[in-house]
Amino acid sequence: MKKIFTLIVLGGLLLVLLSSISELPPIGDRTNPSYNEIAEYYISEGAEDTGSTNLIAAIITDYRAFDTLGETTVLFTGIAAVVSLIGVFHHRKSDKEEEHHG
């Protein structure tokens, strides 16, 4: 019952999404609004500004390096969260904790 209901709702959502396809900017067109002066700036000035031939590397580590700092922090957060939940503390397994369990 729940499955059918979800299916109907999501089917409706899919129809709404698909019906808007023809109104989206076409794929792969050079005149698309997303291929604007920002993208052209990266392509024309990227090598000059950053000295990197790989423009994606230029963006992630120079133009938008702060995002990448956030991203490494996400990784750090992920591992901190995992360790907080299931980590076994080898190097800090003090006598106190042993007492706790024993």
């Binding site: 920002i38 133009y63 390096a65 995002d67 922090t73 957060t77 706790h100």
Partner: protein, 500 residues
Amino acid sequence: MSNIHFPVYILMLLLIFAVTIPLQRKSYGRRFQILMVSVLGIAWIMALLELLMVLWDAPYSYTFGSYPAGIGIEFLVDEFSALMTLIVLTLSLLIIIYSLKDLEHEIESSRMYSYYTLVFLLIFSMIGMIFTNDMFNLYVFMEILSITSVAIIAIKKKKDTLMASMKYLMMGAIGSVTVLMGIALIYMVTGQLNMSAINEEISAVWRLYPRNILLAMGFMITGFSIKAAIFPLHNWLPDAHSTAPTPSSALLSGLVVKAYIFSIAKIMYRVVGKNISVDIGIADYLIIFAVLSMMMGSVFALTQRDIKRRLAYSSVSQIGYIFLGLALASEMGFSAALFHVVSHAFMKSALFLSAGSIIYLTGKRDVKNLDGIGYEMPITMTVFSIGVLGMIGIPGTSGFMSKWYLGLAVLDAGHPELLIVLLLSSFLNALYYLPIIVSAFLRESPGRPLEMHRDGIPGTMKVSMVLVAVGSLVIGLFPHLVMDIIQQAVPTFIGSGMGL
């Protein structure tokens, strides 16, 4: 002392401290606690200087990598974001002081370092979300926030906590994915990620690609609403906030939800712009959901017997107030919403901290068992009462002022019928909050003489709790302290900002 790098200094101080916590050699103890509080203290001083600087000079934009905004990432430091940062740091400082003793009862001692790593990352990401003026940067900070906010619940490792955090993580992940879809749709037609730059382009785009903007708004508002727990999407919140350790509940209810709401405000007013938000008609829908949230949150709260669960449901209804302000799409409504963000942060933190103290001392979570607790813990119950009176909206409290502003905004926007909803919701608030106070102070507890005691909780918990309550009172008695800053910030916020 003017220095434009203050936002970076605050963020990096928090981040550096967070990442160095796992390297601590000594076992968790007093030395670390002092270090932690002083780091937050330094960050707090910097935030205060930052606010004074912005008020003295003018809002400014800070670009990373010295590239122009749009090419690089931009921070927009305006009055309200500086104020929000100060409030986030104030409350987190007080909550962390509270947590020093309280946490010993709630999580394993070997997880203390992990907990504080996560809390510092949480504060870091909230401040990042407040300052950023870049859509994708907002998403990155939001992800840090959604992982840490789940992790500080799950760390308790009780059975129900695990299920609650799983639910929260699932809903949160769906929310983030939805927001990212919205960002993609907006990027598709504007080619910009900078919020002010999008705002400049969007009026032209709105005519060319209305469907894109409509879908993008739908996706983003839905995504953030999941994370901010608006009524039909709220079902993770009561579980998560009530099972979490008390300091986490206070952080989550007081601050984290506000960071998401502030993001919605940014999307509606700074990115898409007020006029288009109204044209799309999204404002009208939001009013419906806000009203539903206000009413249903209170109705659900009435049926709860667990005190923390009752507080959590009350958060749902209070978030409805903030949404109502945002949905009015007027400057008055907007500033009322921002005011309520601030005042609710203080009130809810005070409520959760005092409820946590009750649980700490007596272990009682059921509101039926709180008879006469006011004599056993007078300070705690006074703090609780201040929070409650604010929630109901007794004159002189910050809650009254936010309802007052909200009422004025509702009348100004020409929706007098919403005033009834406001009053009805306040009445419901009174219905589920007042009995707790009445029974705490006026009823006799079974098997205990009715005489004044001193609260048997550690001093740090008392001090921090009282300071939060005092903060709430100060905002209530001198609302202009906050309101002036908000009104100064509204033009820069709604106007396209500084942009490219």
